[in-house]
């Protein structure tokens, strides 16, 4: 068995691992008032890793016996994860330096560990790698959710996230162990080939195993009925952590789910697609309806992100027994939605972090009259909210449009109708925040002040949201799909 390693293929991961170890060691020798340097090192590592990923564009490489694959799907996800990592560092630097100054180093260490897991997740084509990557994404997440150690709410956020997270992993692993027994392999492509046999199409054991695995990933992407942890965890965690969890860990969950469903289990799509239809409809409907009743902005964004996960799940529902064209379109639609969602949701959270500096209550009422206090910030928030609502010409519109047309082409008009109905509910609560910011008078007229790092992150995100909205052709050029998908 050859053991030659393709080190260039894993270079982004190596740079990120080196950086996170460097942060951990350097932090030990920094005095408290100089701990901000940790964020600089972390940022340098993320940018280095981003560069290494760029050098791989166009390549198709496989190493570690096919467990680790670099293809356009993996690279697209990696670039997105690293961009999100850089933005998360920007939006958390001030919050941390003012809040939990002495333990910042650990925060960046954990954050980068989690992002390392995401990079691995995008490249893993094996149950074992998927499992290790998923745990590497989640385990640091449990710790950063409880990062405010003296705060009982933060503790509670951590324990809920932890118990649900570990439980879901156990359920997923049980499913994986059974699939491994049936197919005699843990490689996704080999599993897909073994399960292509007509007798395997609706074998109860296989169907049950897929159900276990989907349930496990359902927790990670907070799909109804596995969503209970998400609002509590987001609300209790420090706000930058909520931003990070709602974006990055959800996208990582989808990166795994897309590969599992379209590479390993495409021949069982007759069986799982109806399940996904129910899950998608329940997720978007419940998320949107409960979001209407929220008074806390972080909780509202939590339910909104649950609803958004519903839209991302929808393309999975239309591929039941469909031809390769529909499958390819569904795959691309879900992927595009995840990419666009990540940036617009991160933008909304960045604004919440700014307002949180003035008032830590995170109530929606704090946003009354924000326009008169911080016009630039409010305009940015309006962009993000309208994009989340799916108003053209912002990026969110195209995300919804791709999912919608995938549903129509997949002969699932009723799903498209449910989606439109839900978008209207979503529009209502996104717009009502916008209206409060612009129309209501502010209690407190003082300015909030946007620190440089946060301002930079917000400006970048606005540019992304607008640019993708104006030039949606970008996605047609990239043709984002896994080269391993037998489509």
């Amino acid at each position: 068995m050859p053991t030659t390693l393709d080190l260039h293929a894993v270079l982004p991961e190596i740079i990120l691992s080196g950086t996170l170890l460097a942060v951990l060691v350097v932090d030990l020798f920094l005095r408290d008032e100089r701990k901000l340097w940790n964020s600089v090192i972390a940022m340098a590592g993320v940018l280095g890793s981003f560069w290494a990923t760029l050098t791989l564009i166009g390549d198709h490489r496989a190493t570690f016996n096919g467990m680790f694959v670099v293809d356009s799907f993996a690279l697209l996800f990696k670039l997105m994860f690293l961009a999100v990592a850089a933005l998360v560092i920007l939006i958390s630097a001030n919050y941390l330096d003012e809040g939990v100054r002495s333990t910042q180093g650990e925060f960046y260490f954990l954050l980068l560990s989690s992002f390392l897991g995401m990079l691995l997740m995008a490249s893993s084509r094996d149950f074992l790698m998927l499992f290790v990557a998923l745990e590497l994404v989640s385990a640091p997440g449990f710790l950063v959710a409880g990062f405010k150690k003296r705060d009982a709410r933060s503790n509670e956020a951590a324990v809920k996230f932890f118990l649900f997270g570990v439980l879901s992993t156990a359920v997923m692993l049980f499913g994986m162990s059974l699939i491994y027994g049936v197919t005699k392999s843990t490689n996704l492509v080999a599993v897909g080939q073994a399960l292509a046999h007509p007798a395997a199409r609706s074998e109860p054991l296989i169907v049950a195993s897929i159900l276990f695995i989907v349930a496990g990933f359902g927790f990670k992407v907070s799909a109804v009925p596995f969503h209970f942890w998400a609002p509590d965890t987001y609300e209790g965690s420090p706000v930058p952590v909520a931003a990070f969890l709602s974006v990055a860990s959800k996208a990582a969950g989808f990166a795994g789910l897309l590969q599992l469903m379209f590479v390993a289990f495409p021949h069982q799509s007759n069986v799982w697609a109806p399940g996904f239809a129910i899950m998608a409809v329940a997720t978007m409907t419940l998320g949107n309806i409960v979001a209407l009743a929220q008074t806390n902005i972080v909780r509202l964004l939590a339910y909104s992100s649950i609803a958004q996960a519903g839209y991302m799940l929808l393309p999975f529902a239309v591929v039941g027994g469909a031809g390769p064209a529909v499958m390819r379109q569904a795959f691309a639609a879900s992927l595009t939605y995840i990419l666009i969602y990540s940036f617009m949701n991160l933008g909304a959270f960045a604004v919440v972090i700014v307002v949180n500096r003035k008032r830590s209550s995170n109530l929606i009422a704090d946003y009354d009259g924000l326009m008169s206090r911080e016009p630039g910030l409010t305009t940015a928030m309006l962009f993000f909210l309208l994009s989340l609502a799916g108003i053209p010409p912002l990026a969110g519109f195209w995300a919804k449009f791709f999912v919608f047309s995938a549903a129509i082409n997949g002969n699932a008009a009723w799903l498209a109708a449910v989606m439109v109905l839900n978008s209207v509910i979503g529009l209502y609560y996104y717009l009502s925040i916008g209206a409060r910011m612009v129309l209501r008078p502010a209690e407190d007229q003082s300015r909030i002040g946007v620190p440089f790092a946060l301002a930079a992150a917000i400006i970048l995100l606005v540019i992304i949201v607008v640019a993708v909205g104006v030039f949606p052709d970008f996605f047609n050029h990239f043709s984002p799909r896994s080269t391993l998908v037998a489509l």
Partner: protein, 123 residues
């Protein structure tokens, strides 16, 4: 639409399962005598009745040591398959380097614990 019917089996199983639970609990409730006492109403947990104070504190430092032990102990599990295969794989060169990197990362963890004064037995 035919594949939706396959979920009919699942539905039937769910119904039977639900009925089983309802009947079992309902039957139990109808037939049993009901004489609650304080002692009966307490939650059943296995083990002996605690005598005296239930909480006897173990000092936190035991937890830290136990935790460090568990982590390093379990990580060593990766050494065994490596050691078995070492002779066979050594011609290809990098096997030794890989293990040095692995142990180096563990050593950084130990360095962290040491600098954070976890390894000192504070009285």
């Amino acid at each position: 639409m035919s594949y939706y019917w396959q979920y009919g089996t699942l539905g039937a199983l769910t119904a039977v399962g639900g009925a089983f639970v309802v009947i079992a609990f309902l039957g139990n409730r109808l037939m049993r005598p009901r004489k609650p006492r304080v002692e009966k109403a307490t939650t059943y947990e296995c083990g002996m009745d605690p005598v005296g104070e239930g909480w006897s504190n173990t000092h936190i430092r035991y937890y830290l040591f136990a935790f460090l032990f568990v982590i390093f102990d379990v990580e060593s599990v990766f050494l065994f398959p490596w050691a078995v295969q070492l002779e066979k794989l050594r011609p290809q060169g990098t096997v030794l380097v890989e293990m040095i990197v692995f142990i180096g990362i563990l050593a950084i963890g130990l360095l962290y614990a040491w600098k954070k004064k976890v390894l000192e037995w504070v009285k």
